[in-house]
């Protein structure tokens, strides 16, 4: 019997060690936030948050640190990407969950897996090789000659490295993610709801947009917000196609600069210019705050709609065996 109690004690001891270990994620989250704040603090104390966020000129050599061009660049790319992605992901999701034959439903999973597994730098390469020339030669001349009277379609940047190129690449990257998540939300709706509606004589489409969609709308919006937060933080793919010019964008064909691209492009000079390291860490802090806001909001809503594994799904065959 002594060995029995020894085993119990051993197990309890291990449990205590593990309890300590499991605190690491909480510790890490706070450490990341705190260390970025500490590093950003010299710059913030000198210029105030408001001046930094609304400042339009970025000339570190002359001691001018305005983040507005980068913040607006990030917002533009994200908004364009998300707007392109929403209709495609919405209709694909409805098709996959409500209409598609079984064979397509089974085939789509590996397909989305592959899209999710491709590294962002490969997406960037694809953007440089296919999207940028297409924007330069076809899209920009066409839209600016036909719709050029609208400010956002006017084109003064002839190279194709532009917000729209970044937006298209972002859209291709986040669409599989949004589809995976919203399909999960739709398939989690109880079958009875669908059947009750259909038995009253509605068509399939009426069931979808009158019964199902109102029920899951907050979940779908949260899925899109989560996709947007991935877009905000995307570095390499955007950096490669957006042109990297710190200006206030006026049209989707203007070159722009995003916060992650700013950090990635300039870390090399970080130590050589005064306040520059603090400025780059401030950029990381702004990025982190935006993403934390998006993330916590959408994670809390999504918890009501899906098991969290759908959020984590994102690729590579962790099958949901509980449904089989």
């Amino acid at each position: 019997m002594a060995s029995q109690s020894n085993r119990k004690k051993e197990s309890q001891r291990i449990g205590r060690v593990l309890l300590f270990l499991s605190g690491l994620p909480i510790f890490l989250t706070t450490t990341i936030l705190v260390s970025l704040i500490i590093k950003a603090n010299p710059l913030i104390e000198r210029f105030t948050v408001k001046a930094l966020i609304t400042g339009v000129s970025w000339k570190p050599m002359q001691d001018l640190f305005g983040f507005l061009p980068f913040i607006l660049g990030t917002i533009w790319v994200t908004v364009v990407g998300v707007c392109l992605s929403i209709p495609v992901s919405f209709f694909t999701t409805i098709y996959l969950t409500e209409y598609a034959p079984q064979a397509i439903r089974f085939a789509i999973r590996p397909l989305l897996d592959i899209l999710a597994a491709i590294p962002s730098v490969v997406y960037g390469l694809w953007g440089v090789l296919s999207i940028v020339p297409w924007v330069e030669k076809s899209l920009a001349p066409f839209l600016s000659s036909h719709f050029g009277f609208l400010q956002i379609f006017s084109s003064e940047n002839p190279t194709g490295f532009s917000i729209i190129s970044g937006g298209i690449v972002i859209a291709v990257m986040i669409t599989p993610f949004i589809i995976a998540l919203s399909s999960e939300i739709l398939t989690n709706i109880p079958k009875g709801l669908r059947e009750a509606s259909l038995s009253l004589g509605t068509t399939r489409w009426e069931t979808i947009h009158l019964v199902l969609l109102p029920k899951v709308m907050p979940g779908l919006i949260a899925a899109i917000v989560l996709g947007a937060s991935r877009a905000v933080g995307e570095t390499m793919a955007v950096l490669m196609v957006i042109g990297n010019v710190p200006q206030i964008p006026k049209s989707i064909f203007d070159a722009a600069y995003t916060l992650p691209a700013l950090i990635a492009n300039n870390y090399g000079e970080m130590m050589s210019i005064p306040m520059y390291d603090s400025a780059l860490m401030s950029a990381a802090l702004i990025l982190l705050v935006i993403i934390l806001f998006f993330n916590i909001f959408s994670q809390l809503i999504l918890r009501k709609f899906v098991n969290t594994k759908a959020i984590l799904w994102h690729g590579n065959g962790i099958e949901d065996s509980s449904r089989n």
């Binding site: 291990i14 449990g15 593990l18 309890l19 270990l21 499991s22 605190g23 994620p25 909480i26 890490l28 989250t29 990341i32 260390s35 970025l36 590093k39 495609v88 919405f90 209709f91 694909t92 098709y95 996959l96 209409y99 590996p110 897996d113 592959i114 597994a117 590294p119 962002s120 730098v121 490969v122 997406y123 390469l125 694809w126 090789l129 296919s130 291709v172 489409w205 991935r230 933080g233 570095t235 390499m236 490669m240 950090i263 990635a264 870390y267 860490m281 990381a284 990025l287 982190l288 993403i291 934390l292 993330n295 994670q299 969290t308 594994k309 984590l312 590579n316 962790i318 099958e319 509980s322």
Partner: protein
Amino acid sequence: MIIKILMVGSFAIVFGSLSLIVWTVFSKGLPALSLDMITKIPEGGFYMGGEGGILNAILGSFLLAIGGTFLAILFSLPTALFLEVFSKSSAWCSYVRLSLDILWGIPSIVYGAFGFIIMLSVGLRASLLGGIITLALLEIPIMTRAMDEIIRQTPKNLTQAALALGVTKFELAYQIIIRQTFPALITAILLAFGRGIGDAASVLFTAGYTDRIPNSLFRPVASLPLAIFFQLSVPFPEVQQRAYASALILTIIVLLVSVVSRLVASRMNRFTIK
């Protein structure tokens, strides 16, 4: 009817963009691929079109990703087991899970910047060790939450039967749950590995870049994503060709990891109790 056209059209766009990406990578990469690319390190004038290959980046990526994944397993598996088996407080668990989900959403460039701050404060330069630690931080939330969900799917009657026989929680975790969920745990590990090997932004600050194969943990190391990025930004067409070939190599590695993890999941399932 219009709806149906819209739906099939959207589906075609998703399918079409995937085919376009794969086609672009293969059609540009294959002609540029040669045996030298994968068996040699860069020689003099490589970035102006000279001889050599990207063995340094291929090996470097594997060193970084294997090291990072190994470190991440050391943390993730015990934590996932704790969340599902040991823990008595569900409030604590939900805090841990929420912070893992938050960490999961933090972009890799922020991990890179954070890793850089930490390395500065302990006096470590851009090195293999720095890259491995940063990648481990990036992989931990992915791996832990995946393992957490996997372990939750252990059949309830299996754990109850074991506990009824008088095993301790540690024995339950170590001898029963790990064995039962082993194939799925492997897929979780490969998932994190695939994410780690393709990530560029986090190793940019922390691992540096070099034309040599590192001989110690404190030397800088090259990686495939950065090789693609740097070669593409060189204005010589011969070097850009190599970026296409490097992208093809990276894509093949990532797709292989994805296929292997599916195979493992389906082949090894027969060793588990349903």
